[in-house]
């Protein structure tokens, strides 16, 4: 029972990986699937570099056991697709929202979640939404500008609450969430 074999759908591809039970989702993604876009900084939930989407919702990859994610749909920065994601990537590059890039994967996932929920309507809202993502380089101004710019481009389109996606066993997004 010290090994587990969670079945995951990661960026659209099915994987069943046998790992020690203590393996975090972030370590499984990086060390077993080679998806090193997901970064690990603090491993205590504070820096946000490890943030990924599980069943459509942002989670800390460092505070989520891979075992808990059996049956889940995982999206990492490598698999972030769609109009909102494209606009964010373009805006990050245009506005200079990254320097060393360490925080960028978590920033993009968090920004994607904000923009998609249409919860990035003002600079204040964006700053509050980025409270769980630390950047040691940019000073945040360019990040806020980039996200505001991408959010502005999506403004007329309907957003989603997130987590309405078919969920599985992560204790989170579950079909019955769709109240």
């Amino acid at each position: 029972m010290n090994e587990v074999s969670p079945r995951l759908r990661v960026n659209g591809a099915e994987h069943t990986v046998t790992v020690p039970a203590r393996t975090s989702l972030a370590d499984l993604l990086r060390d077993r699937l080679g998806l090193t876009g997901t970064h690990l900084g603090c491993e205590e939930g504070v820096c946000g570099a490890c943030t990924v989407l599980v069943d459509g919702l942002p989670v800390r990859g460092c505070l989520t056991l891979a075992a808990t994610c059996d049956g889940a749909e995982v999206v990492t920065v490598e698999g972030l697709t769609g109009a909102d994601a494209d606009r964010l990537r373009a805006a990050f590059s245009r506005e200079g929202a990254l320097q060393c890039g360490f925080c960028t994967p978590g920033m993009l996932i968090t920004a994607y979640d904000l923009v998609r929920r249409r919860a990035a309507g003002s600079p204040e809202e964006i700053r509050a939404g980025l409270g769980g993502n630390l950047c040691r380089c940019t000073g945040y101004q360019a990040l806020v500008r980039a996200i505001a710019s991408a959010a502005g481009e999506s403004a007329g389109e309907p957003g989603t609450r997130g987590g309405a996606e078919p969920g599985t066993r992560t204790g989170e997004s579950h079909p019955r969430d769709r109240a």
């Binding site: 020690p20 203590r22 946000g48 942002p58 075992a67 808990t68 409270g131 989170e172 969430d177 109240a179």
Partner: protein, 299 residues
């Protein structure tokens, strides 16, 4: 860092979880959302031999209306409360409290039951459920018992749970129409734990004066505290005219500190708590009836 090795169990029923915990003994720990436990495992501050993950137990997730109130399953997440996926027995108070906990990615996984069991003195749910006089249902090898949420925390990071017991649900009586609630969290940065957390409930008379005041404070002592002297001081006054100087004597009496204390830090702490109480009052809102979240699962 990474956690030390442990055995992992993912039961589908409460009875199975309790049997596992009883059978595995002291080396086993319950895993809820992991948002407090995982940092401790990663840092190897604790090294349990077994983890019993209760987030696969469907009956613990979601809420349902019961006579006069709402019953929340222990594995209901902060996010589900924040997003109104479950009814809000606090008429808006629970959603406000949830939205202030950590960061969105933490709220996606962190659970009500985990927060109560963890008994962090600065956490939101122990204070909120104490103020609402909620009842916690606990299940262990010897059966099911209920206790007031006010009696669950026994000290900082110490709950009154036995090692084979899990929190199953929290039952909250709905606040009646006409009652007001206020919550204010003072914290260093967005998403940080509170340095002070005030929850106030009150009625108003025809001239807007406070009546039936219930005032609770978190992050002041090892467990949430009620502030009876401040409640008395507030009664009969209107929320609008209250400033820090006005509530300070009550808060000082309740916390057993004096504003003239020689210790700068103690004086500062007292003022932070008094200011937090004032802001909770200033931003209080009337109860809104919660039709939302109807049918979001049933523990």
């Amino acid at each position: 860092m990474k956690p030390a090795e442990f055995g992992y169990h993912r039961p589908c029923e409460v009875s199975e979880a309790v049997a596992l915990l009883a059978g595995l003994g002291d080396g086993a720990r319950v895993l809820g959302g992991g948002q407090s436990l995982m940092p401790e495992l990663n840092a190897r501050r604790i090294t349990p031999v077994h983890l019993v993950d209760i987030t696969g137990i469907g009956s613990l997730r979601g809420a349902r209306r019961v006579a006069g109130g709402v019953r929340y399953g222990a594995a209901t997440t902060h996010r589900m409360v924040e997003d109104g996926l479950v009814p809000d027995a606090g008429g808006g108070l629970l959603a406000r409290a949830a939205a202030g906990i950590g960061h969105r990615a933490v709220r996606t996984r962190g659970t009500l039951g985990g927060s109560l069991a963890y008994a962090d003195p600065a956490a939101e749910w122990p204070v909120v459920f104490a103020a609402l006089d909620a009842t916690v249902e606990v299940c262990g090898a010897r059966g099911v018992r209920s206790l007031p949420a006010r009696e669950l925390p026994r000290g900082a990071f110490r709950s009154g749970l036995a090692t084979d017991e899990i929190v199953v649900a929290v039952e909250v009586r709905s606040l009646p129409q006409g009652r007001w609630w206020g919550l204010h969290k003072t914290a260093g940065t967005a998403g940080a734990y509170a340095s002070s957390l005030a929850v106030v409930l009150f009625d108003t008379d025809a001239r807007g004066r406070l009546e039936q005041v219930a005032l609770w404070l978190g992050a002041a002592r090892e467990t949430p505290v009620r502030l009876p002297a401040t409640e008395l001081l507030l009664t009969g006054r209107s929320a609008a005219g209250l400033d820090v100087a006005a509530v300070l004597p009550g808060v000082a009496q309740d916390l057993g500190t004096v504003d003239a204390a020689p210790d700068d830090a103690a004086r500062h702490g007292l003022r932070v708590h008094a200011a937090t109480v004032c802001r909770a009052l200033a931003r209080a809102a009337p109860v809104v009836s919660a039709a939302a979240g109807e049918g979001a699962g049933a523990p």
